[in-house]
């Protein structure tokens, strides 16, 4: 069952930017694309654990600030030829409010 939690206003996340949501299982990065879609990923690059929330967002991807791994926001997959995957969490926008559903197992790992 999806358990949606309200985490804030869409306008509080910059376009082509990201904000962090703190959880006991680690930070989750919530991204906003140019067209106001939102995506949520564990804030850890599969490469060396870099904080993806601090990266440059382009189209539906983010570049990790540590070593330029590029991660797909929708799937958490590293863009080929790089390999690796970051856990994703369901996120949505309704009436300008961002909702997140934390997948516990993923966040805790």
């Amino acid at each position: 069952m999806t358990n949606w939690i309200e985490i804030g206003a869409l306008d509080d996340i910059p376009r082509l930017g990201s904000r962090v949501v703190r959880t006991p299982g680690g930070n989750i990065a919530v991204f906003r694309t140019e067209s106001d879609e939102v995506f949520a990923l564990d804030d850890r690059c599969p490469h060396k654990g870099g904080p993806l929330s601090q990266g440059i967002v382009h189209n539906k991807r983010v570049t990790c600030p540590l070593h330029n791994f590029v991660i797909e926001l929708a799937s958490g997959q590293a863009v080929a030829p790089d390999e690796g995957c970051t856990h994703t969490h369901p996120a949505k926008v309704e009436n300008g409010i961002v909702w997140l559903s934390v997948r516990q197992a993923a966040a805790v790992s």
């Binding site: 804030g8 904000r19 949501v21 703190r22 006991p24 919530v30 904080p51 382009h58 540590l66 934390v102």
Partner: protein, 819 residues
């Protein structure tokens, strides 16, 4: 997106490297524009023709050299009609006709029919056992002959002939090479190198008959021998004709397209019929035909760009290099090495080591190079040749190669061929030679970008780029596609840095989306490479007008601190000229204790670094430092970093001028300015140079009679002493020259290009002329810098610590306590 019905039809004749490389490049640029059909008369996918020699020699298999398998065509919705030959182009109806009479319409046609081996018109040339050396079919026949027969004659002592001879010899045949002239590979080698080559091939058992003219091929049902002009005969069960290739343009000629020695094409790779393009060995461009692979890549890129209706790229011809692919023989040649009255030669000959090097110079530039025995520096000479570098300053050591030029940086080590597979090439990402070689052969990589993407080698600091290019050249044999001299800004565009900067000014573009729209960016929002570059270019071009785009800044510049490996940040307050006070030090100590900052470290630029600060603490840390009168040290910026000074005449018994005071003055004037890459200054009070000014981006060495201004030094990836710019008499003049120099760099430098690289590219004299000699220009540059500083000199820490700028950046969006 266009649907299948309205899509334009592109027909490609020729399923070889040139045609398919063009299709690949087209798919990158405009994946949905065309419905593509490829005709190839060979029953294979696309394979790497350069590597046929290693297949013949038994060092590679046919599978090893496949570039595009049949699946690739399917995955990309390309109709591959292999084994079908086009017999006619009907330009009136825009159709091609297959040999079976099938008519296929086209909107655009690409001819990439390559070349055919030249078969000498000798009596007996149609006998079984007489073959050319061109495709897999020929190689198969040669391999079969080597199991059934003993004696082979190869006619032609050029690159292809020798590779064929070597392959057949490795397969156990007795091989005689017949050559018309007395020098082997005379188009690539001079007589001395040709002689060395002959000697070492003879040592391996190859027999030469040269100079010799073949008169007839003998035999009844099958070749049995060869007769020469002097009447002598040689027994032969196999005759390979490898005297050259001829562009294959029959089809084009029959269709009425203008041909000379090849299909004549324009700089956009179009034939005289604008609907019809041609690339590869079948074309003649600016009177040149090419039989090597590297030019094909350049042509393919231009052709694809035009087919994609971008229409700005042009092909200007290629300079080529060759490397003989005979294992154990190192031979490299490039450019023009025929002797001439206006040419000079540098020759190194060491018979015992079997080393021969000949560098040909004209007008202070390398125009040709022949290397035998030691070819490690081949790509290095070739780079200088293509770039037209003025080599007069290194002339005396030129022949000894790159390693002997005193480039003390990482790029100094230089013998890829001699390295073991475990040798680390890329120190940043820990990639060793073996991994790169494996990726190149397994993944079929051709370019530096390919290698970067697949192995990460050379993708961080870039100092190993030269080595990686050497590994490419070494693995592929001279035919790898060298990085073009004019590089695109990033993969999102085909435009260069210079193009982008020029268009921003010409078209008055003032936002990143406007630049991307106007210059037809290939991606929606660019990427982590181009966005920061565009942001800088706009900021530097339109000071006060352009609104800095925080989301296009690398994190360090967005949060005004340096991200560390664990996601914490480091904070460096400014200490003007490296001078501090007891109260500043006390404040720093207090901050470190108050925020539990784990490491306090003195930096190389005479500053104090507080490491391990949590992001959410940054504004509070800055507030405390601000209260003590300190501002951001911009240790994170592509901008003015530090001015390092010595104590100068104020204290030092040797000091000639007030170097500390001058350093502080420079720093106070220049802080806050954004530049293409970081800028570090040094000011030394006397020639003892305690501030190490002569390895900085800009350095001042004070002398009794004034101030020597140096620039373009480096002491990081590369070690490079500065160049002397000029000497002035007063502090004010010093400031004016340095500011003007920095402004010129701000206006011309490519993003991330350090000042020494900019100077290398633009040339010291060019810079001196505009900054020193032309006083009016110097003052104008100074005025532009000063204008831009009005908008740049706001402390970013104070804005964020006490004025609430960018507050969201430092706080989490939410804190969840999950059950």
């Amino acid at each position: 997106m266009l649907d299948k019905v309205t899509k334009r039809k592109l027909v490609v004749i020729g399923n070889g490297m040139a045609g398919i490389r063009t299709v690949e490049a087209l798919l990158e640029r405009a994946p949905d524009l065309y419905d593509i059909t490829v005709f190839g008369s060979e029953p294979y996918g696309n394979y790497n023709r350069i590597l046929l020699s290693p297949v013949l020699a038994g060092e590679k298999t046919v599978d090893d050299i496949m570039l595009n398998t049949v699946d690739w065509y399917e995955d990309n919705n390309i109709t591959l009609r292999k084994g079908e030959t086009i017999s006619m182009i009907d330009r009136r109806t825009c159709e091609v006709v297959t040999d079976a009479g099938d008519r296929v319409p086209y909107d655009r046609l690409l001819i990439a029919t390559g070349s055919n081996p030249i078969m000498l018109p000798l009596p007996g040339k149609e006998l079984p056992g007489v073959i050319g050396f061109r495709d897999i079919y020929d190689v198969d026949r040669m391999i079969k002959a080597s199991t059934d027969y003993r004696n082979a004659v190869v006619i032609g002592g050029g690159l292809l002939g020798l590779e064929a001879a070597n392959g057949l010899m490795k397969r156990g045949m007795n091989v005689t090479v017949v050559h018309l002239l007395d020098t082997l590979m005379e188009r690539q080698l001079d007589p001395v190198a040709g002689g060395l080559l002959r000697k070492s091939l003879e040592e391996r058992g190859m027999v030469f008959k040269m100079p010799a003219q073949t008169q007839a091929i003998l035999g009844e049902d099958r070749v049995t021998g060869v007769r020469f002009g002097d009447g002598t005969e040689l027994p032969a069960d196999l005759v390979v004709m490898a005297v050259g290739i001829r562009p294959n343009f029959e089809l084009a000629k029959k269709a009425g397209l203008y041909c000379e020695r090849g299909i004549v094409v324009s700089d956009t790779m179009q034939t005289y019929d604008g609907r019809i393009y041609a690339v590869g060995e079948c074309v003649q461009h600016r009177r040149q035909t090419y039989g090597l692979v590297a030019p094909l890549f350049d042509q393919a890129k231009v052709c694809a760009n035009h087919l994609a209706m971008k229409g700005f790229a042009t092909y200007d011809g290629s300079v080529t290099s060759t490397k003989l692919k005979v294992t154990g023989i190192d031979l490299f040649s490039a450019g023009d090495f025929a002797p001439g009255p206006d040419k000079e030669e540098i020759v190194l000959q060491d018979a015992n080591r079997g080393v021969y090097k000949r560098i040909i110079l004209k007008d202070k530039k390398i125009v040709g190079a022949v290397l035998y025995g030691d070819t490690i520096d081949g790509p290095w000479y070739f780079q200088h040749l293509r770039d037209g570098t003025d080599v007069s300053h290194m002339r005396e050591r030129l022949v000894f190669g790159a390693a002997n030029l005193g480039d003390g940086g990482v790029s100094g080590q230089n013998s890829v061929a001699a390295m073991s597979d475990e040798t680390e090439i890329c120190g940043c990402n820990g990639v060793c030679k073996g991994a790169i070689v494996k990726a190149i052969s397994d993944k079929k990589l051709f370019t530096l970008d390919d290698v970067r993407a697949h192995t990460k080698a050379s993708s961080s600091c870039g100092s190993c780029t030269g080595l990686v290019e050497q590994v490419l050249a070494f693995t592929l044999g001279g035919d790898y596609s060298a990085a073009p001299k004019v590089k695109p800004l990033c993969k999102c565009t085909d435009h260069s840095h210079d193009d982008v900067r020029r268009v921003i000014v010409e078209q008055q573009l003032k936002t990143i989306p406007a630049v991307m729209r106007f210059m037809e960016w290939k991606t929606l929002n660019g990427c982590h490479s181009c966005r920061p570059a565009l942001n800088y270019y706009l900021l530097a071009t339109w000071p006060g007008e352009y609104r800095d785009d925080q989301q296009s800044r690398f994190i360090n510049e967005r949060v005004h601190a340096n991200i560390q490996k664990d996601g914490t940040y480091s904070v460096v307050p400014r200490m003007w000229g490296g001078v501090t006070t007891p109260s500043e030090l006390r404040a720093i100590a207090d901050v470190a204790e108050k925020f539990n900052i784990p490491t306090v470290k003195v930096t190389g630029g005479q500053r104090i670094d507080l490491l391990g600060v949590k992001k959410e603490d940054l504004p509070a840390v800055w507030a405390d430092l601000n209260d003590a009168g300190m501002v951001s040290g911009h240790a994170y910026a592509k901008g003015l970093r530090t001015v390092k000074t010595c104590v100068g005449s104020e204290w030092c018994r040797f000091g000639t001028q007030d170097s500390t005071g001058l350093g502080v003055k420079l720093e106070k004037f220049m802080w806050g300015s954004w530049t293409p890459a970081k800028v570090k200054l040094g000011v030394s009070g006397c020639p003892r140079n305690c501030a190490e000014a002569t390895c900085k981006d800009v350095g001042v060495v004070c002398v009794d009679s004034g101030y020597e201004i140096h620039f373009a030094g480096a002491a990081g990836l590369h070690i490079k002493g500065t160049e002397f710019l000029t000497k002035v008499e007063t502090e004010d003049e010093t400031l004016e020259v340095i500011v003007a120099l920095t402004q010129l760099y701000r206006e011309e430098g490519w993003y991330l290009e350090r000042m020494y690289k900019w100077c290398d590219r633009v040339g010291l004299e060019q810079i001196r002329k505009r900054v020193v000699d032309d006083v009016a220009n110097r003052k104008a540059l100074f005025a532009r810098f000063a204008h831009s500083q009005q908008f740049a000199q706001t402390d970013p820490w104070a804005e964020r610590a006490s004025r609430g700028v960018d507050r969201n950046e430092f706080a989490p969006l939410a804190e969840l306590e999950l059950a």
